[in-house]
């Protein structure tokens, strides 16, 4: 019985191919192209006029049009792009800070041995300065991380689900 359905499918496919070829041939004729082109040329003008009247009426009736809502949506998209740029800048800053931090750590490690040996001779103000610099770096990293998080959250609130 399954063979019957297999044969039916083959017939359907052949018929479909034949009909589609015929439709393609008919639609590809010059007179059809001319007819459809004429229709295509008339169609937009009518709707353009209707749309213009709609826009005109929407002002005194105080009704928002599709263009109005699209304009609001465009503002949101612009805002999203600004947040995205901010996020990129913060990420760049974060990466730069990471690089500086790695460099500082490396320098700190190489100096540590020397410092340990000369600790007694090292003035406390130099140690304090180094510590302050590290603290400032840590704070900067923390703030950039927080800004990055905020930017991501702000982006997520108006982007909707996809």
């Amino acid at each position: 019985m399954s063979d019957v359905y297999k044969d039916l499918k083959k017939i359907a496919m052949l018929l479909e191919k034949h009909v589609n070829n015929r439709i393609h041939q008919e639609l590809n004729k010059e007179e059809v192209i001319q007819f459809i082109t004429q229709w295509l040329n008339k169609h937009p003008h009518v709707f353009q006029s209707l749309r213009e009247y709609g826009e005109l009426l929407s002002a005194p009736l105080n009704i928002p049009t599709k263009t109005d809502t699209a304009n609001i949506a465009k503002l949101l998209i612009q805002l999203e792009e600004k947040v995205d740029t901010l996020e990129d800048n913060v990420n760049d800053l974060h990466e730069k800070l990471d690089k500086v931090s790695v460099k500082e750590d490396a320098e700190g490690a190489s100096e540590q041995n020397t410092k340990q040996k000369a600790r007694r001779n090292l003035s406390p103000s130099k140690q304090e300065k180094a510590q302050r610099r590290r603290d400032a770096l840590d704070r900067l990293k923390y703030y950039s991380h927080e800004i990055s998080k905020t930017a991501k959250t702000a982006g997520g609130t108006h982007r909707g689900s996809a």
Binding site: Y5, N20, L27, I33, Q48, N71, A73, E80, R159
Partner: protein, 343 residues
């Protein structure tokens, strides 16, 4: 009598399948790493990462991207992650009326290029593989022609690029080239071409009358795994998305009327987008039964790129076969594995 009873049972089952609601699709675990307007860049983590070079998939602007992830066990994305690749999928989403002015330049620079940068940043990879499907492949080729990012490999699947050959409606194309068909006002009238109209347009270009799939269902309605796939695939064939008017006008003018990607005259934001700029390893794939994008529309790209490593492959199947697969075809798996940096 028994036969008639069986036939009725089969027809009843077909009716049942057709009356079921939309199936669930896109179930692979994913994470959005970037969103812009309606688009999203989804990240699918490799099951067991074997390659440093991530895959960046660009899908078409015509249909919805879930064809790449129909269901567990029938998902190209899943096949890539199972093979050890991290996958990034750029889903352009559904444009609204506010997006009517989005151009091809915007899609290439603001969506694809930025998406690739985000994927590189997220993956911390040194380079990336771009895989474009259908019109997504055309856009991927345009992007690769202007890209500054480190593209290691590029795969173009059933991508329409060479419009010197058109499979159907050659008289229409001729009329378009002569300027006797004015489409701009018609597109402007809509702003964004509605999804239903896109579906009808694509249908006319491929199969104006389409019923053989119902006979396929009738033949194999007793096979649950076939029905499972049929429902999802059928849902995808009916899931077109609206098309931004400005991008459509630009594609008609640049590709159909002027064939500018192939002729080397395409400019994107003032920059020449010539295929000879592409130096990445390239694989161009067409399929034997593709009536919408036959091999003549893709093959010539291989000759125009500057890549030393370039391959054209004619695979078995139709237009969507390569996108809706549960396992990677061996030619693709082998090609990618040989050209991706191992972990």
């Amino acid at each position: 009598m028994v036969l008639r009873k069986n036939e009725n049972g089969r027809l009843h089952k077909v009716k049942e399948v057709l009356s079921q609601g939309s199936p669930q699709v896109g179930k692979s675990p994913k994470q959005a790493v970037w969103k812009k307007n309606k688009a999203a860049l989804w990240y699918y983590q490799a099951k067991q990462k074997k390659y440093e070079t991530p895959l960046f998939l660009v899908y078409s602007l015509v249909n919805r991207a879930f064809i790449l992830d129909l269901a567990p066990g029938m998902s190209t994305v899943e096949a890539f992650t199972n093979a050890g690749f991290d996958v990034y999928l750029l889903d352009f989403g559904e444009p609204g009326y506010e997006d009517k002015d989005i151009t091809v330049d915007d899609y290439v620079y603001d969506y694809i290029q930025t998406g690739v940068k985000k994927a590189l940043h997220h993956s911390k990879a040194k380079d990336i593989t771009i895989i474009g499907y259908c019109l997504g492949g055309t856009l991927a080729a345009m992007y690769a022609a202007v890209a500054d990012e480190p593209i290691k490999n590029i795969v173009l699947m059933v991508a329409p690029m060479d419009f010197d050959y058109v499979p159907v409606f050659d008289q229409w194309v001729q009329a378009l080239r002569e300027g006797s068909v004015s489409y701009e006002e018609w597109i402007d009238m809509y702003g964004v071409i509605p999804a239903k109209l896109m579906e009808k347009g694509m249908r006319i270009a491929s199969y104006p009358v389409y019923f053989s799939h119902y006979f396929s269902l009738l033949e194999r309605v007793n096979d649950p795994s076939y029905v499972h796939k049929w429902r999802r695939f059928n849902y995808w064939t009916e899931s077109h998305v609206p098309f931004a008017g400005a991008a459509l006008k630009q594609l008609i003018q640049e590709l159909v009327q002027e064939n500018s990607l192939i002729r080397g005259s395409l400019r994107l934001r003032g920059k020449k987008a010539v295929l000879s700029n592409i130096t990445a390893n390239i694989l161009v794939v067409s399929t034997t039964l593709d009536t919408l994008v036959p091999k003549a529309m893709s093959q010539s790209v291989v000759e125009l790129v500057s890549s030393k490593d370039k391959t054209f492959k004619l695979a078995e199947g139709g237009h969507a076969t390569l996108a809706a697969r549960s396992r990677l075809p061996s030619f693709l798996a082998d090609w990618l594995v040989e050209r991706s940096a191992p972990v």
